[in-house]
Symmetry: C2
Subunit: 207 residues, 2 copies
DNA sequence: CACAAACTAAACTAACCAGTTTAGTTTGTG
DNA sequence: CACAAACTAAACTGGTTAGTTTAGTTTGTG
C-alpha cells in the first residue's frame, strides 16, 4: 500500500507539507493560496498538483501527517514508576500541558475547530488519532492507579475526562485566543490546581 | 455618544447584522462574501458600506452585538436559594452547559478561535464581555457558598475555573468539532460528574 | 409638495485564486 | 549517452472578491 517514493520526491513532498502547514496555521484555510504554498516550499505550482489532487487534499494530508506524529509521540510516553498518586498525576499533567500548548499542536487545534463544519471527516480523523487515543492511554494509567489503591472513582473515562478538562482552563484558553497570559493562571498553577482537586475527588476511602 | 438612528435605518442595520452573522457562522470569515450578506439581508451592497467601513468592521460589529447580548443575559441570571451545595452547583452547571452548547454561542466561539490570530482585539473584547464576566459572576456565587459553609477552597478563581472547565469536556468538545454525540458523555452525565467531583474537591472540613 | 437623507440596481476597478496547460529543463538510471 | 520521470517558469481559463461609483428611486419630515 505504501508508495516507494524516490528520495528527491519525498524531500519535495515534505517541503510542500511544511510550507502548507505554516501557511494554513498563519492565514487559515480559505485565505491560504496554493501559489503562496508553492513559493514558500520552493516548488512550482504544477508540482503541488502532481502530488496532491486539490487544495482540500493538501489540507487533508497535513492533518493526517499530524495524526501520525501524534500517535508516535503517544506510544513513547513514559511515566515515573512512583507509588505517590500526586507524583504520577503531576507528571501526566505536565506532559499534557506541554502538548496542548505547543504552538504547532495549538495551531492545528484552532484550524480543526474552524474547519470542522466544512471538513467533518478530517475533524473525525484528527480527533480519533489525537485526543481519543490520548484519553484511552490515560484510562489505562488511571485504572492501574485504582488497582494499586492510589485513586478511587466509579467511571474511569469520566474521571479522565474531568482531569484533562481541568487542564484546559483559563491558561489554555488565553493561549488559544491569543490573549496575554494571566499571572494568576500560570501553567504551574493550573497543573497544581488540577492535581489537588483530582486527589481530593478521587481519594480512596480509608479502611 | 449614541447615534439617534432612524427606525428604518435601525431595522436595515439589524437585518444586515443578522444576515452577516448567519453567513460568517456558516462559511467562516474569509469565505463569506459581502455580496452574499447583502443578498441575504435584502439590502444593496452600497448600503452595507454606508453602515460599515469594511468587511472587517462588519465582523467586529457582530462580535460586539453578541457581547452586549451576553452581558445582558448574565446579569439576569438567577439561582435557586437553596442550602444544598449540590442543588446550587447543579443549577449553575445546567445554565452554563445550555449556554455553551447553544448553536449561536458555539458558532461565535468557533469563529473567535479561528480568527483570534488575525483579530486579537476582537478576541479580547469577546473574552472580557463573555467568559470573563461569567467567571466573575460565578466567583461571587462560590464566595457566598464558602461564607455559608457549603464549600471550601483556597482560591476562588481557580476553583471556579476548574469547575467550569470540567463542563467543557468530551461532550462539549464533540459538539464543537461536529462529531456525533457519545452516549457515555451526555450533557446530564457531564453535569453530574462535574458536580460530584466539585463537591468532593471543595468539601468543607468537618468540625 | 418639496427637500434631503437613505436607499436601490448595476456596472466597474483592480486584484486574487484554483486548477490546467505548454514547452522546456533537470535528474537519476541503465 | 539515452531515456523517462520529475521538475520548472510562465501563461492562461474562468471565476470570485472587496470596495467604489453612478444615476435614479423611495421615504420621512417640515
Amino acid at each position: 500500500m505504501e508508495k516507494p517514493l524516490s528520495p528527491r520526491s519525498a524531500a519535495k513532498r515534505a517541503a510542500m507539507l511544511d510550507a502548507a502547514q505554516r501557511c494554513f496555521l498563519e492565514s487559515g484555510y480559505a485565505s491560504t493560496s496554493v501559489d503562496e504554498v508553492a513559493t514558500r516550499a520552493g516548488v512550482s505550482k504544477a508540482t503541488i498538483y502532481a502530488h496532491f489532487a486539490s487544495k482540500d487534499d493538501l489540507f487533508g494530508a497535513i492533518i493526517c501527517r499530524r495524526c501520525d506524529d501524534q500517535a508516535e509521540g503517544l506510544s513513547s510516553l513514559t511515566l515515573p514508576d512512583s507509588s505517590e498518586a500526586r507524583t504520577i498525576l503531576t507528571a501526566v499533567a505536565q506532559r499534557l500541558m506541554a502538548l496542548f500548548l505547543a504552538p504547532e499542536v495549538m495551531g492545528i487545534y484552532r484550524i480543526v475547530i474552524a474547519e470542522a463544519p466544512r471538513h467533518p471527516e478530517l475533524a473525525k480523523t484528527w480527533y480519533e488519532a489525537g485526543p481519543l487515543r490520548g484519553k484511552q492511554r490515560l484510562c489505562e494509567v488511571f485504572d492501574d492507579m485504582k488497582r494499586r489503591g492510589m485513586l478511587d472513582f466509579v467511571d474511569t473515562r469520566r474521571a479522565v475526562d474531568a482531569f484533562i478538562s481541568m487542564l484546559r482552563g483559563e491558561c489554555f484558553h488565553r493561549v488559544m485566543i491569543d490573549l496575554p497570559p494571566n499571572p494568576h493562571f500560570t501553567v504551574e498553577a493550573t497543573i497544581e490546581t488540577a492535581v489537588d482537586f483530582a486527589l481530593k475527588a478521587f481519594a480512596p476511602s480509608q479502611g
